[in-house]
């Protein structure tokens, strides 16, 4: 029975599952390095603007909703732990159900993250924190800070939604075919992708929510 599961998990050019797993992990790690540089462009832009307009950035930082940011970070850390456990336990068929439960927990936390982010956006729009004519903070550079705030959090949310899609695929296909679930490297790949999304958020959290708190 397991050979057919193995065959189902086996992709076309590979004749050995272990090497396919190595290749899949190497592939997702290189993709993470690449996406890190995608957000890296934003981090550099943010750092330069912080250097050019320290006062404006600090003041703008003060206006961001720390409560939202904090709860989002906690939610994402929990989900990252859950997906790590899911990936660790996926290899053993006996723990298949437990692993898929962890995947569902991760998805729920991911959706929670998006809802909190939605609430925060609604709060920001109410406070007219959108760079443009009626911007409340007149310190120079504050509009820049919020321009980067909107761009980076929107892009991060897009990446997180893609992650939710991958997790959903895992949970549904895994439930229908537990044998495939225990063999396929896709579980580790999705877990690593989710870990990457959490890494980006950890850096973004510090860049967006912590400056300007000390005033």
């Amino acid at each position: 029975m397991t050979t057919s599961a193995e065959d189902r998990a086996l992709r076309e050019p590979w004749d050995d599952l272990e090497r396919q797993r190595q290749a899949a992990l190497t592939g997702i790690w290189f993709f993470s390095a690449s996406e890190l540089l995608f957000f890296g462009g934003l981090f550099v832009a943010y750092a330069v603007n912080f250097y050019l307009w320290p006062h404006g950035s600090m003041e703008a930082g003060g206006h961001t909703g720390l409560a939202y940011g904090l709860s989002n970070t906690v939610v994402l850390l929990l989900s990252s732990a859950a997906v790590a456990v899911a990936a660790a336990s996926a290899r053993w068929p006996a723990l298949g159900r437990f692993s898929r439960a962890c995947v569902w927990v991760t998805m729920i936390l991911g959706v929670a993250f998006l809802t909190i982010k939605g609430l925060e956006y609604r709060h920001d729009i109410e406070e007219r924190l959108i760079p443009g004519p009626g911007f409340p903070i007149e310190a120079r550079g504050a509009q820049l800070f919020f321009a980067f705030y909107w761009t980076s959090t929107a892009l991060h949310a897009v990446h997180l939604t893609v992650g939710l899609g991958l997790l959903l695929r895992l949970a549904i296909v895994g439930a229908r075919d537990p044998q495939w679930y225990s063999k396929t490297p896709a579980v580790n790949v999705t877990a690593l992708y989710w870990g990457f999304v959490d890494v980006v958020w950890t850096i973004l959290f510090v860049l967006i929510y912590l400056p300007g708190r000390a005033t």
Binding site: E12, T26, G27, G41, A45, G132
Partner: protein
């Protein structure tokens, strides 16, 4: 579908069995859903051929406009859109994908003894990303093109340009991720799927160049994607990311853009170096001179290439300290390129040199790349760059490297591996004539630009002072010759698919695993996993070589690899 011109497609198989060309199925659907790296390589070849000629037509009209000092053939706005679309299409839809996605896809698995790339489905997905990006370029073209130049400098591109910048940004964004996926595919394949015995220092240099290029391909394009997303955000949502009125710094965009765009020019030239390092040893029947130095040079170029981008910004208001740092790093990155040129020339020593078309293109490459590289030294020294940047001197420099270098190597690869890809031989005499015509047409077009560039003729000018007219007339005439030299291979290679001589498995008696499969190779490349136990390029015995090598001796020499 961007490359609907399938009539040019070299895949209408003849009557008998034709390897991967017939095994995978004959319908268009079988081609559009193939995961065979060889077929995807051909899909890419068709796509970039279409874009190569569109870009060529755009600049042909611009060059005709430049024959007269006044702006009289096309309006200034149309002229801006012509050179911008030429830049965008040539950079992202011809040069960056030219050698890695066509010959890299086709040959990499065969050269390392694998059945296919590590992620075949991802490979097909990369082609679809490039094709969808191509469709967006068509949308931009049909809507009138964008007039920001391929550099999209802010604040013109974000606040002032009224041309359709957004479709162009989306096109580059999507095709960029297609290239990143190919890069990831190559690196994982080279690391995990080498045949037994194929150690790192037995890899052919083409595979090494794909490895070095994939490093740059994985790490550079994401930063460009971010820079273009920032411009799109500023144009669509009004977020003032680089708007000087709100304190944004246009130079920040230039840092983001050039951090990608300099490694991008290495993404364009490294595969060309890989191709030439395959062709020259084969036709000189000699081992490549200094194989390990060539490998270190390839990887060094890819890595140091990330620390030199500031030499594009010497006059843009960058601080003097940064100018000096980037100037120094630019000189450091020039050293490996110089070594490679010396090694190619030294490979010819005591060889049995024959002058088929691929070798002529490779000679052209070495000559033109040397001139391009040397003028790069001019531009790396700051006082000369202050005079020469944004003039035709810079245009001549990067065309010597990109057109003289990469396109010559692309045609060398096209002719060298044509028997393996299509199972047919190309007509030798016509091909040699086309190679020589391209070399002279190229010099005839771009050498006058060096002279008028140093004399002060700025780039992107539709009308110019009359004292530069002689050079523009020469350059346009040269462009005509170059255009013919580019069209000839299109005809005689298509002709050779149907009427060319049937090619043997190894027409050039070259070493390398890809030549040990029948041509065209079967769908799964190798019946049984090949085992490698010799040096690459084992064209003559290491210990000694007979005084006068007769034809038979060569075959006997070749006997080394099973």
């Amino acid at each position: 579908m961007t490359d609907a011109t399938l009539d040019h497609a070299p895949d209408k198989p003849g009557d008998d069995h034709l390897g991967y060309l017939s095994e995978g199925g004959h319908t268009l659907w079988s081609w559009l859903t193939t995961t065979d790296h060889k077929r995807i390589g051909i899909l890419y070849a068709l796509t970039i051929t279409v874009f190569f000629f569109i870009g060529g037509v755009a600049i042909a009209i611009a060059r005709l406009e430049l024959v007269t000092p006044a702006q009289d053939l096309v309006s200034a706005d149309t002229y801006d859109r012509l050179f911008s679309m030429h830049g965008i299409i040539m950079v992202w839809f011809f040069l960056v994908p030219s050698i890695p996605t066509t010959f890299g896809n086709f040959l990499l698995p065969m050269m390392i003894g694998a059945r296919d790339l590590a992620f075949p489905k991802l490979n097909l997905f990369s082609w679809y990303l490039t094709a969808i990006g191509g469709i967006f370029v068509f949308v931009a073209l049909l809507a009138g093109g964008t007039d920001t130049g391929w550099t999209f400098y802010v604040p013109y591109a974000s606040n002032y340009s009224d041309s359709n910048v957004l479709p162009a940004l989306i096109a580059i964004f999507i095709s960029g991720f297609g290239t990143i996926a190919t890069g990831i595919n190559f690196i994982t394949t080279i690391h995990t799927m080498r045949a037994p015995g194929m150690y790192w220092f037995r890899l052919p240099l083409f595979v090494w160049s794909m490895y070095a290029v994939s490093l740059a391909i994985v790490l550079a394009p994401p930063v460009l994607a971010m820079a273009l997303t920032a411009i799109a955000a500023e144009r669509v949502f009004g977020l003032p990311l680089f708007n000087p009125a709100d304190g944004g710094d246009p130079l920040l965009y230039q840092h983001l853009f050039w951090f990608y765009s300099h490694p991008a020019v290495y993404i364009m030239i490294l595969p060309a170096m890989g191709v030439v390092s395959e062709v020259i040893p084969c036709f000189a029947r000699r081992r490549l001179f200094g194989y390990s130095f060539m490998v270190y040079a390839l990887v060094a170029i890819a890595v140091i290439g990330f620390s030199v981008w500031g030499h594009h910004m010497f006059v843009s208001g960058q601080s003097a300290y940064a100018n000096l740092v980037f100037s120094f790093m630019s000189f450091m990155v020039a050293v490996p390129s110089a070594i490679k040129v010396f090694n190619w020339t030294a490979t010819l020593y005591r060889g049995q040199i024959s002058f088929e078309a691929p070798m002529l293109y490779s000679f052209g490459f070495v000559g033109l790349f040397t001139m391009g590289g040397l003028t790069g030294l001019f531009l790396a020294s700051i006082p000369i760059d202050i005079q020469a940047t944004d003039t035709y001197f810079v245009i001549a420099h990067f065309h010597y490297i990109m057109v003289g270098g990469t396109v010559s190597a692309f045609f060398a690869a096209l002719h060298f591996w044509w028997p393996k890809v299509t199972g047919r031989m190309y007509p030798e005499a016509v091909a040699r004539f086309a190679a020589i015509l391209m070399f002279f047409g190229f010099n005839f077009t771009f050498f006058p630009q060096f002279i008028m560039g140093w004399a002060g003729m700025p780039r992107r000018y539709g009308s110019y002072p009359p004292e530069f007219q002689i050079y523009h007339v020469l350059s346009t005439a040269g462009a005509g010759v170059l255009g013919i030299a580019y069209l000839m291979p299109l005809f005689y290679l298509t002709w050779s698919i149907f009427y060319g001589r049937r090619a043997p498995a190894n027409p050039w008696e070259a070493t390398g695993l890809e030549w040990q499969t029948p041509s065209p190779p079967p769908k799964h490349n190798f019946e049984r996993m090949p085992v490698v136990d010799t040096e690459p390029y084992a064209y003559h015995r290491r210990s000694e070589a007979p005084e006068v090598e007769t034809q038979t001796d060569q075959n006997e020499q070749m006997g080394g690899t099973p």
